[in-house]
Symmetry: C2
Subunit: 184 residues, 2 copies
C-alpha cells in the first residue's frame, strides 16, 4: 500500500503548465532550473523530486503541449477534402500561434530538440495529401508531396513570424494567401 508521507506544498500540474509556458517562450536552453524554481516559488530539490531532471521536465512539458496540438491536427486533417483540411489547418495554426494570453509561436516549431515531433506532424500532413492523390483530388503522389512541403513551410514560417511579433491579422493573411496556392 502506498503510504502518504508529507504532502506536497505546491500544485504539480500548475508548475508543469508554468514550465511548459517558460519553455514555449524561451526554449529549453533559455530556461534555467533556477528560473523555474523562482517562478514556481519552490526550491530545486522539490522540482527534481516531482519531475526528475531538466530533460525529464521538458519532456513532460512538451507532452502537455502536444496533447492539445495533436487533437487539433487530427480534427483539421479529418475534413472531407484535403483542400478543406489544409485550409482549416492553416487557419487554426495561425490562430494558435497568436492566441491571446499564450506565448506567441509554437513550442514544437521553435525548439530544436523537438525535430522528431515536427517530422511526425509533417508525416501526418503528407499522409493526408497522399490520400487525396489516391482519391483523385490531387494529380499524383509527387504533387501531394510538393503541396506537403509547401504547407510544412507555411506552418513553420507562421510560427517564426509570430515569435517576431506578427499579430493575428498578419498570420491569417499569410494563411489565406497560402490557401490560394492550391493546384487548379
Amino acid at each position: 500500500m502506498s503510504v502518504t508521507g508529507r504532502p506536497r506544498t505546491f500544485d504539480k500540474d500548475a508548475v508543469l503548465r508554468m514550465a511548459m509556458r517558460a519553455f514555449w517562450e524561451r526554449g529549453y536552453d533559455g530556461v534555467s532550473v533556477a528560473q523555474l524554481c523562482a517562478e514556481a516559488g519552490i526550491a530545486a530539490p522539490s522540482l527534481y523530486a516531482a519531475f526528475g531532471d531538466k530533460n525529464a521536465l521538458f519532456e513532460k512539458a512538451s507532452a502537455l503541449y502536444t496533447e492539445h496540438l495533436d487533437e487539433d491536427l487530427e480534427r483539421d486533417l479529418s475534413a472531407p477534402t484535403a483542400r478543406e483540411a489544409i485550409e482549416r489547418l492553416l487557419r487554426s495554426s495561425a490562430e494558435h500561434f497568436s492566441a491571446p494570453g499564450q506565448p506567441p509561436g509554437c513550442l514544437v516549431m521553435s525548439e530544436p530538440r523537438l525535430a522528431e515531433r515536427r517530422d511526425r506532424t509533417r508525416d501526418m500532413i503528407r499522409t493526408r495529401l497522399r490520400r487525396a492523390a489516391a482519391e483523385g483530388e490531387l494529380a499524383s503522389d509527387a504533387e501531394a508531396d510538393g503541396v506537403a512541403a509547401f504547407v510544412d513551410t507555411v506552418l513553420a514560417g507562421m510560427a517564426a513570424l509570430a515569435r517576431d511579433g506578427a499579430d493575428r491579422t498578419r498570420l491569417l493573411d499569410a494563411a489565406r494567401h497560402a490557401a490560394r496556392a492550391w493546384p487548379a
Copy 2:
C-alpha cells in the same frame, strides 16, 4: 604612425568566416568562446584582442553573413515586375538555404537576436510590393501587405525546413507552390 609589434599568427578573416559558420550552424548561444578557440587553434586572448568580446565577434560575423545576403536581396527585388521579383527571391532563397558546403538554413532567420535584421528584410519586401500596388500590379496597399506577410512566412518557413534537413528539391517545391499563390 602605427608601429607594427608582433605579427598575428592566424588569419583573421579565416577565423571570422569560421565563427560565422559556427554561429550559422549552432546559433549564438550554441557556440562557446572555448569552441571557437579550439576550432581556430588559437587561445582566448588572441580572439579577444582581434575581435573584442563574444558579442562584438558575433556582430562582425553576422555583418559578414548579411553582406552577401543584402546584395542578393536587392538583385532579386529589382526585377521589373513584383511577381518576378518575388519568384526570384523565393527561388534564390531556397537555393541559399540549401547551398552545398554551407550550413543549412539562414543565420538571420534562425538567430533570435537578429530580429531587427529580419524586420529590415521584411521592410524591403513590403516596400517592393507597395510599389507594385502603386504601379497597378497589385490591387491595393492592403493586398501588397497581405502578399508581403505571405512571402515573409514562406521565407522563414523554408529556412526552418532546411535546418530540419529538407533537401533542395523540397525547398524548391515549396517556393514553386508559393509562387502560384500570386493574386489573379
